[in-house]
């Protein structure tokens, strides 16, 4: 299977990455080379194989149902969370206007 220039542009738009015409010039053949190479996986008979879900079998744990069980990941961290925001206003993340 190979992808067209339009398909790569569509994927880039889904991934929210602007690509200009020059980017597409080199990305399309690289993309197709990689896809052609990974397609050898189709040779493998996997009809009776389950896809891996966890590399080391584990049960997902539930944390204790208490507030701030771990202070590092608990609440009350507004200022720390906003500290690296490109734009923070009035205790919130600032973004361009979304609704007219």
């Amino acid at each position: 299977m190979s992808v067209t220039r339009e398909q790569v542009a569509k994927i880039a738009s889904l991934a929210r990455i602007n690509l200009d015409e020059g980017d597409l010039d080199h990305m399309v053949p690289e993309f197709n080379n990689i896809l052609a190479w990974v397609e050898q996986l189709g040779e493998v008979d996997t009809s009776s194989v389950e896809p891996m879900t966890a590399v080391i079998p584990q049960k997902l744990r539930l944390r204790d149902d208490v507030v701030d069980a771990d202070p590092l990941t608990g609440g009350g961290k507004r200022d720390a969370i906003l500290a690296n925001a490109p734009v923070a206003e009035h205790g919130f993340f600032g973004v361009p206007k979304v609704i007219e």
Partner: protein, 493 residues
Amino acid sequence: MTDFTQLGIKAIRDGVANGDFTAVEVAEAFNAAVADAAELNAFIVTTPDYALEAAKKVDADRAAGKQLGSMAGVPIGMKDLFATRGVQTSAASHILEGFKPEYESTVSQKLWDAGAGMLGKLNLDQFAMGSSNETSYFGNVANPWKARGSNATLAPGGSSGGSSAAVAARIAPAATGTDTGGSIRQPAAFTGITGIKPTYGRCSRWGIVAFASSLDQAGPMARSVEDCAIMLEAMSGFDPKDSTSLDMDVPAWAASLDANLKGKTVGIPKEYRMDGTDEEILKSWDDGIAWLKDAGADVVEVSLPHTKYALPAYYIVAPAEASSNLARYDGVRYGLRDLPDGAGLQDMYAATRAAGFGDEVKRRILIGTYVLSAGFYDAYYTQAMKVRTLIQKDFEAAFEQCDVILAPTTPTAAFALGENVDDPLAMYLNDVFAVPASLAGLPAMSVPAGLNKDGLPLGLQLIGPAFDEQAVLNAGLAIEQRAGFTAKPEKWW
């Protein structure tokens, strides 16, 4: 006077504990070595004050008769993928340039708690995506080794290329690395040092910038097997903040080191004898077999039939996870924001990500987005995860016949910077021997085996069953004792 920069973890820790020298003297020596090695570009940020402060605390604790930690007085380099409070954590990307975490990763905190200090944040491939450290936004790292009779600058491997270069150049006695598909082992092999990736889940992923979460594992890079064992113990342990952290005690790997392999069986995977592998790599593999026999081990051939499919499966699984993990970089919560005039929110996302990610990162996000998209998911992603199951089953079957597997770490010695940069597939093939163990979540280590005819180091890889880091370390020690690898890069920086 002792040249402290020639000492490893154990020698520094024991020397400080015995009062032979102070932690401050050691920190000052390494700070000076780091400052003198700017040409290697191993560090993105240096933190001499942090190293000094940690050393002063160790010296004060010793004077006060307090118990010292297992890494007390050892200044280390921290791969710039670990969140360090108040110190830029960039993942070698433009999009995270200037990001100063408000918190500390679990692994780095454990190392500081054990008495280590931080020399600085080490360069790497951007978001740990690469095998030569050429995708960093902050420039290439130079391998301290050069081929005999050549002045070409060689790649230090990747993605932990700053880590490998720093340890090989003796500007850090040890460094942290992370390994998603070989990123500890391949750079260790390229620079003549030792590095181990433990079983998936041993080291907490909390506070490590995520690349492919089902594969990412932290591990130590140092100059001896024993130093790796000491540092891995300090880094490992259950962490409730990581949902895939192993809830198991950390074994006393260093105290249990034993190079006597009598009664142990070493497996040699026949599928790793691939066409195109360097003759000298194959010879070093034969040397490794002879050394392990000499240590008392029996050697058997084993089969890992799906080996050739590991790399293509990896280049579906890892980009798929990356495309999801890297969706968080959107110019809203941290890092770069690119807001063109009059742009709306969606335009801001796309402009920010175009400006903030390098080409290799974009390539992997796009591949990942494609293989996860409706209509292609089963053909690519599900098939890759089925192949991953088969690769794991191959290892399970092999470990019914042997205790540890010996293989080369890489198909070639270090190559020159720029050599593979225009051919992503050729670059990916570097990790052909490293990726299978990553897909199966197994502990694996690279130890130096010797020098090739150009005077460049070659590494041997040991792979163990899940949770059996000890088997890997013991076989690694047996090789280390027999390889007698004492070569060092000549200082040119």
